[in-house]
């Protein structure tokens, strides 16, 4: 049982890591958190499904198309909703993204309804046997993708001009402006990238569970992951994803009989409260939480 729980935790964790990456990217560049991240997942999953089933587009081109649309959506959201809040108190930005999440959830329901939709099989169906533990292949794909994206974004933030500019903006908007950096452009790029990462996560999740509006709840569920790893740390998001995935499965597996089920849902948030009390900047975050 322990091994099965551990491996399930790891693979679920890889998906958490992917979703948490979206939070971290936006936080890294604009110091705000996107409570609508779950809805970005949802939109990505729906759009890809819609392109695949309605127009019979093969899966890979459909994913490319979805990524383009996600890019446009990210830029649009940044321009319409977030731009007016540059320099406003963080509380306004939080509420704006909460409003945005409600808006996006309503619109996706208007377009695609509330029934669960199923992806046509994309990944090979037969499960893989890893040292006696059985897992399905889509989890391995998400694991691989999470690690790939980790590498790509780590290099991106370290070596490319755009990545360095994004870090500069996160550090101090005014200083960045005085160096001739267009903060608006950087924000647009950030939101576009975050929306694309979310779309990838949404497509993977849609392949596992089908698509319905409960997918968006994952956006909130993954917050503990981003906090545990440190909100501005990409390796933190990935590692945090694995830690939370494993912990919730282990604790859930052993304590469910004691508390009568559902422990898995609440474990990440209990961990979250503990982290916030003890080490609010997380495992790898920079330690400049304002203390008052």
């Amino acid at each position: 049982m322990f091994l099965q729980l551990l491996v399930t935790g790891l693979v679920v964790g890889s998906i958490y890591a992917l979703v948490a990456l979206g939070f971290v990217l936006i936080y890294k560049a604009s110091d705000c958190i996107n409570f609508a991240q779950g809805e970005f997942l949802l939109v990505g999953a729906y759009v890809a499904l819609w392109v695949v089933t309605s127009y019979n587009v093969p899966f890979l081109p459909a994913v490319m198309l979805t990524l383009c649309l996600a890019l446009a959506l990210g830029v649009l959201v940044e321009r319409m909703v977030l731009r007016p809040f540059i320099g406003e108190p963080v509380i306004s930005v939080i509420m704006a993204t909460i409003g945005l999440s409600s808006l996006m959830r309503g619109v996706t329901q208007l377009i695609w309804g509330t029934d669960t939709m199923i992806y046509p099989p994309v990944f090979p169906q037969e499960p893989v046997n890893l040292a006696g533990v059985v897992i399905s292949q889509v989890y391995l794909w998400s694991l691989g993708l999470a690690i790939l994206l980790l590498a790509v974004f780590s290099l991106f933030f370290k070596f490319t001009t755009t990545g360095i500019v994004m870090r500069a903006v996160a550090d101090d908007q005014q200083a960045a402006l005085s160096m001739g950096i267009s903060v608006k452009k950087v924000f647009a790029i950030t939101w576009a990238i975050a929306a694309m990462v979310a779309a990838v996560g949404g497509i993977l999740l849609g392949n596992i569970n089908g698509v319905n509006s409960s997918l968006a709840h994952l956006g909130l569920k993954v917050l503990p992951v981003a906090i545990l790893g440190g909100l501005d740390s990409i390796p933190g998001a990935i590692l945090g994803g694995f830690i939370i995935g494993v912990l919730e499965n282990l604790v859930g597996g052993y304590l469910d009989p004691v508390f009568g089920g559902g422990v898995k849902e609440v474990v990440p948030f209990v961990i979250l409260v503990l982290i916030l009390l003890v080490r609010p900047y997380g495992l790898f975050g920079k330690e400049v939480i304002e203390r008052v």
């Binding site: 939080i94 309503g106 203390r291």
Partner: protein, 334 residues
């Protein structure tokens, strides 16, 4: 009542109170039931506004604190056998204690991190309510008897109306006066610049926790009223969506404004009713429109929050003031 400083203002307040006292004799019972819901929402919104609008601490757990109040009433009346009237203040106190506990992280956390901490509070409280079945009956909920005064049962909408009106009025007066006191001023100082507040001798932990407790007290009372009004207590009335609705109320009404809480509560309670009426009307022409009602409601909530934040961050309270000023100064614009 230091609120009243001029004869004209006194007359205005008296007129408003008289208006509300005679209201039930002129309108339909359905209208009264809507006003009851608004009165309950006003109490909850005032509580959240004390915390978010006046103290600057964002909370996404307000729905859960209302749930604590409602379930306290439910458990105390059905399992312990207290009367509703004894349980009502205890519900407020219980919610205040829970709120204060979850307010402790606010010493170290600000803005973003605090929002996440209160979200965790929401999830943990919801989980406890659903899974501690021995105490809360889980997802089945608790059914309580209608509270009554002597022989007068509050199951009647009109009787409940006067009760809810009394409590809501008391909440409004208390809140208005709170911000004339040291405590209220301290809250605002914490909001405007916590460091400066600390320098001026305000104990930040004490006042932040106090603000959380007070806010949760209002929420607990609102939850207890909700329990007394609906007489069925289930967890669906206290989810994270409810928390977000209350946030929407104070944003739309006006952050840091007592009147704004009232406008916002009325607005958010009336919006779904208005939408349903509109859908019924449109249903004659467009058959499937009723299907989309719920989604439209969600989308519209979000859109309105965003629009208010972008174009009128001070909410309906400011809008109303602008309109009044326009007519007061007419035909000059200054």
């Amino acid at each position: 009542m230091a609120v009243l400083f001029a004869p004209a203002a006194k007359a205005k307040v008296a007129a408003i109170i008289v208006f509300f006292l005679v209201l039930p004799y002129f309108v339909s019972p359905y209208f009264i039931s809507v006003v009851n819901l608004i009165a309950i929402a006003v109490i909850g919104a005032l509580g959240l506004n004390i915390l978010t609008g006046f103290t600057g601490q964002i909370s996404i757990g307000h729905g859960a604190f209302m749930g604590v109040g409602a379930y306290t009433v439910g458990i105390l009346t059905t399992k312990v056998g207290l009367s509703y009237w004894a349980a009502l203040p205890l519900a407020g106190i219980m919610a205040a204690m829970v709120g204060a506990v979850f307010g402790i992280p606010s010493l170290r956390l600000k803005g973003l991190y605090l929002a996440i901490a209160t979200l965790a509070a929401q999830v943990i409280i919801e989980y406890t309510i659903i899974h501690w079945t021995g105490l809360t009956n889980g997802s089945a909920g608790i059914v309580i008897d209608a509270p009554s005064v002597g022989t007068m049962s509050l199951a009647d909408d009109k009787n409940f109306y006067y009760f809810a009106l009394l409590i809501a009025l008391a909440a409004v007066v208390c809140t208005v006066n709170l911000f004339r006191s040291r405590v209220g001023r301290a809250f605002m100082a914490v909001r405007d610049r916590d460091l400066a507040a600390a320098v001026m001798g305000i104990n930040l932990l004490q006042y932040k926790v106090m603000s959380f407790g007070l806010s949760a007290f209002y929420a607990g009372i609102a939850g207890a009223l909700m329990a007394g009004y609906l007489r069925v207590i289930t967890v669906e009335n206290f989810t994270v969506e409810v928390s977000i609705q209350y946030l929407a109320m104070i944003i739309i009404g006006g952050l840091g404004s007592v009147m704004g809480s009232i406008y916002g509560a009325a607005f958010m309670t009336l919006l779904p009713i208005f939408l349903r009426t509109a859908a019924d009307f449109l249903g004659a022409f467009l058959p499937n429109v009723a299907h989309f009602l719920l989604s439209m409601q969600t989308a519209l909530f979000g859109l309105i929050i965003v629009l208010f934040l972008v174009f009128e961050p001070e909410g309906l309270a400011k809008l109303w003031k602008d309109i009044k000023d326009y007519f007061r100064l007419w035909p000059f614009s200054y």
